[in-house]
Symmetry: C2
Subunit: 488 residues, 2 copies
């Protein structure tokens, strides 16, 4: 015994000794009541200082694995080996697959991430629409952390409030007001990113009609969550300046809905920005039919061309028909999961209780770090840099698509991705097979469609691909598409 | 115009100018097409440098609020004021209270936090069982953050994995193995604290029987969440060394359950540590009736007396009947919301999909900070300090209770709280009214009971109260209890 001990460099020596001896106890190599070697002897056996062994013994006592008899030595306090013999009947197994709820099974079945292609570094991947981490200002983040910690570190590490960190709530209310939103009768709940906010809102809306209205195509994670919450989904065709008002009117006249889910800026996956006119008209039509709106503020901050377009939450003026869900994740630090829900004050009060039941509150550390980063003016500086870079990349990608790809329609006014449509009958899953063989992948568009359509579409995310690889990848997609088109 | 501009010290000047002008545009004081004053002129009006005004104009252009005509000047790009006139029909209201799901309404109704007493600083409050933030080692937390950021900051701030940050998963698997758990066929999911983990597990378990078994009393947040998930709750009486085996056996023979929820260490609210013998026996009985266990690892790390007691997950040996939910929140940094679920590998795979659907993943920043803190050996050092301090406080509180309070039963083997039972017929809500009038509050025990009982019990959390105030508060509770007992 004691001859297989190996020291590593990253942890205190005494803890490694403690874990080693604990392992011997748990494996039954040391039995309850057995005397441990004297500290000096064990130090020699393990090749460590006696002080480390003494500290290890004390730590074992702290954890209840050992006890000391004065003048005699240290003994093993329990006998897990003996107990292990008793375990027989306690070590039963169950068939978990037969115990899962329909919700859990659906969550697994609808989990596209588990069926995605795992691409190596050498593959040119247009599947991500996450921000380029090289744009993050590490120094500003570090400074925000250290400044906030210095101000109120202990408080930040203890429990916070379900509704959120108050200075951040105040900041975001002001931020939404600066977008033109009338926040007078509204309130704001902090969530762990957009997704948690959306999940909480969906869980809180009654399924009287069991139906939800959205753009077609739309964000596939949103489709998944609407399905998981038991909603039947009806999509409205997208035109180049947002959803078709005619289709919206026809659909609203035909059927009743519990709510609508809309992504008015840099819509995912089409990249379309809904026009001001359509925002007004859509809000009017939805109001006339009493259908409240969940607005996804997705990428709104990235808008880098044209005049300011107000969010639906602003178009609604003093009305309470819009619940706005925002997040900086798509542009700033997705690793910090902070989003927010802005809406009718009484509604937010209920959502706060749902949030508390689900996860108590969002990390106060993350919230306060984000607050400090925002309140000291970093966002504007970062957005300036990010917008310029993403605009440059957008134009570069657009040029490459025009040069190489025989698409029939291209949409995307900016943001982090473009959306391509090929002639009817063309299959982008088949195209993906061909480009994958040549080391290029993208997201087939069908998974964004609510009606089984979109087999001839694809989404190209360019935010995390270098210029040269964008051109090379698009050239290959174009070649393979031309070949497949020629062959059909 | 321009005479109500006020500078504050905390943000760059140009951003304040930008926000000010944006405000004028949003309020309609500046109209679309209107020319903004020349930069030199505006600088004079606002009392700022011309450079700041130029930067503000550029930022307004970035955001789409302004455009520049070369040689002529900068103009307002849109007219929100005109649009506001259009808003009439878009500004409709809806009655959200009539649109809420039963789940949301129940979450609000069961939200005890909203009905708690808001105590000022002068009130002696025994309601909290959060850790004492003065014990946190701020320097170790800062070092962990800076070290991890230096190693891989950009990666940490971008998207992570639903299952969790891999080094932390590996660390926690080892950590659980060191508790004696056989992790060979198990896997681990990182969640945003215990509560999210519990909520995810409950949502994934099928309600075939619609019933769940637990200790009576038990953690009130757990009761809330079990109710919200539609389970009927049946509680098993607590004896001084854990739940009554007789009652467990009788209940299991009488009725079928989908699962059991147990808190074997420093049980909330009674503070009882379940004996080794009972852990084995309970696991046997539950196995015989095919009832899997959700084990709440609550405060396990704080155990500061007696021999090591293995978690149920360890007692289960190579079986898969236990899902263990752990968290360091009760002892270490509740503000960082990181917990974990350890269980059957295939089950965890499904829970990962549920986690992804609900919140994508837990903050990578928090996970990596915690990992760095743990992997460099800080936990042992912190636990040593925390255990010693809480043990001291526990004994002090115990002595005070014995001296002043005429209880009929006291339980609590350590941890952060004690649980008192008074004679039948005594009402601790009435006692609370009396002590509140004298500036002392505690948690009435009835909210922890599954059967409407416990009206004569209370929980005393001592972790965040100073010694002097502990004694003073307990003296007052004792006086009022004696008075009420005398009066009955």
């Amino acid at each position: 015994m004691f001859n297989d001990f190996e020291l590593s460099a990253d942890r205190p020596v005494y803890q490694q000794i403690k874990d080693y001896i604990r392992g011997l106890i748990l494996r039954g190599a040391l039995r309850g009541g057995e005397r441990l070697p004297a500290t000096r002897e064990l130090a020699g056996l393990l090749g460590v200082s006696r002080g480390s062994v003494i500290a290890a013994f004390e730590a074992l006592e702290d954890d209840g694995f050992a006890y000391t008899v004065k003048g005699q030595g240290t003994y093993v306090a329990l006998d897990l080996a003996d107990r292990a013999n008793d375990r027989g009947e306690a070590a039963w197994t169950t068939d978990w697959s037969g115990r899962l709820s329909r919700y859990a099974v659906s969550a697994r079945e609808l989990d596209l991430m588990k069926r995605g292609i795992r691409a190596g570094k050498e593959v040119i991947s247009f599947t991500s629409i996450a921000p380029d981490e090289r744009l993050f200002g590490m120094n500003e983040v570090k400074r925000a952390f250290l400044d906030r910690m210095a101000l109120e570190g202990e408080v930040l590490l203890n429990y916070g409030y379900a509704k959120g960190y108050r200075p951040l709530i105040r900041y975001l209310l002001g931020y939404m007001a600066r977008k033109g939103v009338d926040t007078a009768n509204q309130d704001l709940l902090i969530t762990s990113g957009f997704t948690e906010g959306f999940d909480i809102v969906l869980s809180a809306i009654d399924r009287k009609e069991g139906a939800i209205l959205c753009e077609n195509p739309t964000h596939h994670t949103a489709i998944k969550n609407m399905k998981l919450h038991g909603f039947d989904i009806e999509g409205i065709t997208m035109e180049d300046d947002g959803l078709s008002l005619e289709a919206l009117e026809e659909t609203l006249a035909r059927r009743r809905f519990d709510c609508a889910y809309l992504v008015p800026s840099y819509h995912n996956p089409t990249g379309i920005v809904m026009s001001s006119h359509k925002r007004n008209e859509a809000m009017r039509l939805l109001g006339r039919h009493g259908v409240p709106v969940i607005e996804d503020g997705f990428n709104e901050e990235l808008r880098y061309s044209g005049a300011h377009v107000a969010p639906l939450a602003a178009v609604a003026g003093s009305g309470n028909g819009v619940v706005y869900i925002g997040s900086f994740s798509k542009i700033l630090f997705p690793g910090i999961r902070v989003g927010w829900v802005l809406g009718d004050r009484a509604l937010i009060d209920t959502l706060e209780s749902v949030k508390r039941a689900r996860s108590i509150h969002t990390s106060t550390l993350d919230q306060s770090l984000l607050y400090q980063y925002l309140a000291t003016g970093n966002l504007d500086k970062y957005l300036r840099k990010a917008r310029a870079e993403y605009r440059r990349k957008y134009e570069w990608t657009l040029d490459c698509c025009r040069e190489f790809i025989p698409y029939s329609r291209l949409t995307g006014d900016g943001g982090l991705h473009l959306f391509l449509t090929f002639p009817d009958g063309f299959g982008t899953r088949k195209l993906l097979e061909a480009t994958l063989a040549r080391g290029v992948i993208f997201t087939p568009g069908d998974q964004f469609f609510t009606d089984g359509g979109g087999g001839n579409t694809l989404r190209l995310g360019f935010s995390r691909v270098d210029d040269e690889r964008i051109r090379e990848g698009i050239r290959i997609i174009g070649e393979e598409a031309a070949r497949l088109l020629g062959g059909t």
